[in-house]
């Protein structure tokens, strides 16, 4: 039983089935885009050019990255917001890609985000996929990038959930149109983020688990004042900028539904607003640059053009890796 398509004809058939709503076919395509075997590179190229030719770029999906410390309740909140979005809009199709870290010892991973997303209605318009970050440090994996290139052709909204704070947000920022940061109330998270300079990354701040009104109010004021403070120490920051930041601040509770409707409306507006979208090719390139710098250091930076040419020829990072293998002492994405 092949778990993924292995030839061009069956792959194109899977695409057709996936477009008509067959989830198993879509899931197999996702597996193809995660697969690390060299033979899959050519198949992916065919798939991507087929999709590019047959699906209007303007109907491609909007990417939202959701990040925050473990325990902030990201998965439950995403589940609740998706449920609300699906109920509000009878046509919207949503995919969630939940990325969790792998064990550095065995390479295996425990992907438990699904336990927090429970709903049965509108199942046909919702797709949830768990992914391991492999042995990559940081919040998103190498194959996250690959899978996003696929999912954008099938869904209106693609939510990428990642753990941790630090490097990963930089990477995710490069890939998505909008970043949400989920925090716990009164946990001191915001102070940590201020210190680390991370406040400049998220587009929307969420204080989750505001199950009690008192907690919600306290958190709101605490975060609002740190944002103001942050804005005022930023060179050239104006009052208007800080006002904009405060506007994108939500208090939510999955337990009693606080703020969930509002957040869902906010996301709907973003999805509909063309000005919120950055060009995917640009995102792709900036992710690519970041990736080359991480992977090949100064050498990569100096030879970016050369890398870029190789990349546009193949549209595959794996391919680059192979091509430039001789410059590397080791490969982080070695499959064995």
């Amino acid at each position: 039983m092949p778990a993924i398509p292995t030839d061009q004809a069956s792959m194109l058939q899977q695409i057709e089935q996936a477009r008509s709503g067959n989830k198993f076919a879509l899931a197999k395509l996702v597996s193809l885009f995660e697969n690390q075997k060299k033979e899959m590179i050519a198949l992916r190229q065919v798939a991507l050019s087929f999709l590019k030719d047959n699906i209007d770029e303007s109907s491609a999906g909007f990417f939202i990255g959701v990040t925050g410390t473990p325990g902030a309740g990201k998965s439950s909140l995403i589940g609740k917001v998706c449920e609300t979005l699906l109920a509000q809009d009878a046509n919207i199709r949503i995919a969630v890609l939940a990325v969790d870290p792998a064990s550095q010892v065995s390479g295996g991973a425990l992907l438990g985000d699904r336990t927090r997303v429970q709903f049965h209605k509108n199942r046909s318009r919702f797709y949830f996929r768990s992914q391991s970050s492999n042995k990559d440090l940081g919040g998103i994996s190498f194959s996250t990038f690959h899978v996003l290139r696929l999912l954008r052709y099938f869904f209106d909204l693609i939510i990428i959930e990642t753990v941790g704070i630090g490097q990963s947000e930089v990477a995710i920022k490069d890939l998505v149109d909008h970043t949400l940061l989920v925090m716990q109330p009164l946990s001191g998270d915001q102070i940590q983020f201020l210190k680390a300079g991370i406040m400049e990354i998220p587009d929307t701040f969420i204080v989750n688990k505001c199950d009690q009104e008192q907690v919600a109010k306290q958190s709101y004021h605490a975060l609002k004042s740190s944002l103001r403070q942050y804005a005022s120490v930023q060179a050239g920051a104006t009052d208007r900028k800080s006002a904009r930041l405060v506007h994108r601040l939500f208090m939510t509770s999955v337990l009693n539904g606080l703020g969930v409707e509002e957040l869902a409306c906010h996301l709907t507006e973003l999805v509909k607003d063309a000005s919120q979208r950055s060009c995917f090719q640009e995102k792709e390139m900036s992710y690519f640059e970041q990736w080359v710098k991480n992977e090949y250091g100064k050498y990569g930076e100096r030879n970016l053009d050369q890398f870029f040419n190789a990349y546009t020829a193949s549209l595959e990072l794996d391919f680059l890796q192979e091509k430039f293998q001789h410059y590397m002492d080791f490969s982080r994405f070695n499959t064995s």
Partner: protein, 673 residues
């Protein structure tokens, strides 16, 4: 046989030179439907049982009526189904509920079942003040180990406090909750963890009662006196006896120091016991009879720490639900111990023993350290929310299993002296196991339909509206619930109203951040196999683990998940209370190589059928192999394998790495076809 009537009185210290009274004899029972369970209770009482211990089926425990889709495979499987007051009337037919002491193993919906009991008494014209018994009602251990929670921790705690407030004033002989260390031991707790976590539970409870400020000082002292415990006793019976003495001493310390209780009567550690099922083996099950006897000694030998009530599992519990004869055999053990031996004639046998005293001191010291640690973390509710206690238990369980696997801990018939003559006990026509008549659920569903047809719908609507209003305004919900009971509201309807108000809780699992110490040759072999798979196929093998149905015993599923990750699988852990459609939808979306489901409720036949139907509906027929774990009677294996299950793992297969290895074999042979 003297003094049996007076078991509700407790001997004071001055009475210790008199002969002790026997404990209450119970058997945990209930199955099929209310008619069959009623017959069983009457028969058990005739055999000399002195209290009832009611087992409810999973839908009743989780707040679903029998006509709910998720309930259907589970009706009457692990206990009796209760939908409305009409069911309760049949369940207690010809039983004097003002005379009998009734213990109900009910948690998430305990307020509902108590309300039904009160409504039954009132409709029968019995003064409710005469009712005596216990609702188990310990939600902390449900979140940690047993899994039949319904509402989030804070709301659950509110319901428990409501019950304490109501009971103290109206049913003074009722124990509104029973702090359970029983299930903690089943989940792998060490004696120290058992002491610490159950005492933390009691403290959390009493702190919540105190915070409501609904009692005078005198009333609060009586309320402390109502807190009772439900304890486990395992094979290390000397240590277990010491654990019980440590419990009594620690409880006295806590009630005196933390709550300022003065009356010694209210400081007494009152507890009932069900002895350990975890240590019972599927292999050579007849040996379990001796294990049950030995475990009983741990909680009866020391008079100072003797249980108030005892219920024993049956010798074949690791195989299936017990038959009436199996339960009778266990009851006879209790009767022989209490009435044929001289056990009850002496004062405490261990006072002054330096060995016992030092062991008790050591246990107390360690337990107090752990209690302080949890209280510093914010107390029981916070330690549930953060997953701390759960993770500790998963660790202990992994440790216990490793010790059995390496032979460090001897289990006769399992890892030593495994050859033996087949037991004639297993050779009767029914294969030594109990089966439920599938036709019997019809009776339950018909009764529910009848009640729904005959009840006054206006009264139902008004009662449910009142319940919702009271819940939103944070009033005590007992009165509204009793009115619901009388109006013939169903279990599912009562629960749904409160779910809407309080939400439904999914606690953190024990799987995150766990590690196992299983580094040996066998592990290397599996890892090599997996690395070979990755090299060949370009991805890591993906496994989906989930528990369909309502049984909440998630520890087995969690252990497998942790072991598989440890070996190199990508494991999608999907948790509990899932429908077959949920599981299959996830397996398809995740494009997994293997589905692992775990079931302990006895509903495996129905659920396996549902899984295969759903797979074929999703176009994944024959494409994703399915394996099954849990308590699956041997007689069912062949049928399940014919249905298409690739492997069946039972408690016998406790070597996790061997198990993961076999899972890789299933995947490899499936990919090869």
């Amino acid at each position: 046989m003297e003094n049996q009537e007076s078991t509700v009185q407790y001997p004071g210290a001055h009475e210790l030179d008199k002969k002790d009274r026997p404990w209450i004899f119970r058997t945990y029972a209930g199955h099929t439907n209310v008619q069959a369970s009623n017959e069983l209770y009457k028969a058990n009482l005739k055999k000399g049982q002195t209290g009832l211990s009611i087992a409810f089926d999973l839908p009743t425990q989780c707040g679903y009526s029998s006509d709910d889709l998720i309930a259907q495979p589970e009706i009457g499987k692990v206990g009796v189904p209760i939908n409305t007051l009409d069911d309760f009337d049949v369940l207690f037919k010809d039983i004097d509920i003002h005379q009998i002491n009734t213990s109900m193993t009910i948690n998430g919906t305990s307020m509902w079942l108590l309300s039904l009991y009160i409504a039954l008494a009132e409709e029968r014209g019995i003064p409710i003040a005469s009712l005596q018994g216990t609702t188990q009602n310990d939600l902390i251990k449900e979140f940690l180990a047993r899994g039949t929670y319904v509402f989030p921790p804070d709301a659950s705690m509110k319901l428990i406090v409501d019950m304490y407030e109501y009971c103290l004033k109206h049913i003074p002989k009722w124990n509104p909750s029973n702090v359970c260390s029983y299930h903690l031991q089943e989940a792998g707790a060490t004696p120290v963890q058992e002491l610490a976590y159950s005492l933390v539970t009691a403290i959390t409870l009493l702190d919540a009662v105190k915070a409501r400020k609904c009692f005078s000082e005198e009333e609060f002292e009586r309320c402390v006196g109502r807190v009772s415990f439900f304890v486990n006793a395992g094979m290390r019976f000397v240590e277990e006896m010491c654990k019980m003495r440590a419990f009594t001493e620690l409880w006295e310390k806590i009630t005196t120091e933390r709550y300022g209780v003065k009356n010694p009567k209210f400081k007494r550690f009152r507890y009932g016991v069900q002895v350990n099922s975890l240590g019972l083996t599927e292999e050579q099950p007849e040996n379990n009879a001796w294990r049950i006897l030995i475990e009983s000694l741990g909680v009866t030998l020391s008079r100072k720490a003797r249980c108030r009530a005892l219920q024993l599992p049956a010798w074949n519990e690791a195989l299936s639900l017990p038959r009436p004869w199996d339960q009778q055999w266990s009851l006879r053990l209790q009767q022989i111990l209490a009435f044929e031996t001289d056990l009850l004639e002496y004062p405490d046998l261990f006072d002054g023993s330096p060995v016992v005293e030092s062991k008790v001191e050591a246990l107390k010291k360690e337990a107090l350290l752990e209690i302080d640690k949890i209280m510093e973390m914010g107390g029981g509710i916070d330690a549930i929310k953060s997953g701390y206690m759960k993770a500790q238990l998963v660790d202990s369980q992994a440790d216990r299993l490793s010790k059995i696997n390496t032979g460090e801990q001897t289990v006769v018939g399992k890892n030593k002296w495994t050859d033996g003559v087949e037991s004639p006990l297993m050779q009767s026509a029914d294969g030594g196991v109990f089966k439920i008549d599938p036709e019997a659920t019809k009776k339950t569903l018909e009764a529910l339909a009848n009640t729904k047809q005959q009840r006054d719908e206006n009264r139902v609507r008004a009662a449910l509206a009142q319940l919702e209003a009271d819940a939103r305004s944070e009033k005590n919900l007992m009165l509204a619930s009793i009115e619901c009971a009388k109006a013939r509201v169903s279990t599912g309807e009562w629960s749904q109203v409160l779910r809407n108000v309080f939400g439904e809780y999914r606690p953190p699992t024990g799987v995150e951040g766990q590690s196992l110490s299983l580094e040996d040759g066998a592990l290397d072999e599996v890892r090599n196999k997996i690395e070979a798979f990755v090299a060949k196929n370009g991805y890591r093998p993906r496994l989906l683990v989930g528990k369909p149905g309502l049984d909440g015993h998630s520890n087995g599923a969690e252990m497998i998940s942790v072991a598989a990750r440890h070996a190199g699988f990508d494991v999608i852990y999907y948790g509990i209370r899932l429908s077959a459609a949920d599981i299959v939808n996830s397996a398809v979306e995740e494009n997994v190589d293997l589905i692992g489901i775990s079931l302990l409720s006895g509903s495996h036949m129905e659920i396996v059928d549902q899984i295969f139907t759903a797979l074929s509906d999703a176009g994944a027929d024959q494409q994703i192999p399915v394996i099954l774990g849990g308590i699956i009677p041997k007689a069912d294996h062949e049928i399940l394998l014919e249905k298409g299950i690739k492997r069946i793992f039972t408690p016998r297969d406790s070597d996790l790495i061997t198990l993961v290895n076999e899972m890789m074999d299933v995947i490899d042979s499936s990919l090869a076809t």
